[in-house]
Amino acid sequence: MEVLRVEGLVKRFAGIVAVDGLDLAVREGEIRGLIGPNGAGKTTTFNVISGLFAPSAGRVVYRGEDVSGLPMHRIAGKGLVRTFQHSTLCLEMRVFENVLIGRHLHNRSDPVSLLFRRGRWREAEDREHVDEVLRFFELETHRDALASELPYGAQRALGMAIALAARPDTILLDEPFTGMNPEETRRMMRLVEALRERGITILLVEHDMQAIMGLCDRITVMNFGRFLAEGTPAEIRADARVVEAYLGSSRRAS
């Protein structure tokens, strides 16, 4: 079944067309890669789907509902949650507090208990869920550390932990492997795989070809803001247009 559909998506910035009529359909439970050379419009596509930018034209349909142009927090409320490039965390806060932020939609304490019951909101259900998420990402030993003290790979995992705490049914991962060493990459691949096993649909933008070929069920390739190709990793690897987009035109080169 189709979870997310992008129809004729266009995003312009002051004269530059970053995304130019992209169509994309993501099926439930798959790991879908979105790749393309630098400047192909992948991150812009992400930003439009997640609600950071409104589209200039076209539609984003999530579970049959038109969500184009909704603010990010409303889209998150529908179960579509994104992560960010680099370490977008509250570095000054503790690891478990970061995960608690992700619990925002699922912990609405009433004003009275907020004022009178000492620290109640942090207890029981929240604690359980936070600890479960931390265990999932193998962060439980860092629970009380400041986010800034974590090694890089663990910071990236914490970014995903915050997203998972929001109990999404689709996660958009924005370059989760960037800047990682091979060991961290292997670990992260295992985590993404485990996320899918929880029934979460995953759309990821990535430059690391090894990771993306090893992980994705299907891959969509963009070039110059347009759809270029789609298929399994093997099909994409064999696609002449994709090779050309990445390595440059052979005609021009010769």
Binding site: S50, L52, P71, M72, H73, A76, G77, V81, R82, T83, F84, T88, L89, C90, L91, E92, M93, E97, L100, I101, G102, H104, L105, N107, S109, L114, L115, F116, G119, W121, R122, I162, A163, A165, A166
Partner: protein, 331 residues
Amino acid sequence: MPETRALRISGALALAAALVALPHVLSFSQQEILVFLVINVLLVMSYRFLALTGEWSLGHVVMMGVGAYASAIVSKRLGFPVPLAMFTGAAVAAVVAWLLSFPLFRMKGFYFLIGSFAAGEVIRLLWKRFRDPFGGPKGLKRIDELPDIELGALQIDFFDPVAYYYFCLIVVVVSLWFLFRVERSRVGLTFHAIHWRDNLAASVGVDTRGYRTLALVIASFFAGLSGTLFAHYVGAINPNRFSVEEMVYVLTWAIVGGTATFYGPILGVVLLTALNEVVFRELGLEQARPLIYGVVLIAFVVFLPRGIESVVPRLLRVGGGLSLSGGRRGT
């Protein structure tokens, strides 16, 4: 940790006793200063509450003024009893802040700062322009004071600064308790998240603009409340009392004390008021107050940007390790 708890309780009791005894060791004029100090504590603490979301406003003293004007007008014109007028004044400040949030929260950071300044000046110009009901440049005079209380042998005249000090103390302590509880709740965590990474907060479903508005409205309510405490004690207010010069004092208190902890701004306002009233008054330098505050502000920004609160943990560790930590750590 029963010892820590006992230590905390005895510390709180000692502080309470000191606050109750304090006016009795002061002269009349110092008692008046004490009243203003307590009012200013509420003002700067409400300012810090807004700063939790990362937004710094230059209109906060004007919101204090909105509370003062509204309270004065409903008590004079509509005959509201003073305590009800005070609550009404604070509520009007909250409503005005809510209305202003629509244009202002289209902006963030520096632009919000300038926008809040402009919005504040517009309000001050309205007070100056409309003699009815705001009294024009001369403002409002003969604002009702709190009615005396007579309960048999107990007679309280709120014209007496000691009595008014106790009244303000109760109002301020309850207000600070409220602000503290909200900060320590899930809502406070959300404010911090918006401060540090508003996109991250939004990505997991936080309505960042809604929460910024909530912080502004609550902060303005208590700023307005401090204004009503001021108006009904002094009995006269005018537009210049709520000018940007006063705003700079509030900023200085907050920056000198630091805003990361709950006690930081209180330290700032208490120490600077003591410095101002004890040292400068003795030296006859009161007229130079804006100059001195400017120098102090620059000195702190350069040499101790995180405020006095940032050296407190070190002092306490030396002094035996009593934990006073009120708010969340971080700058």
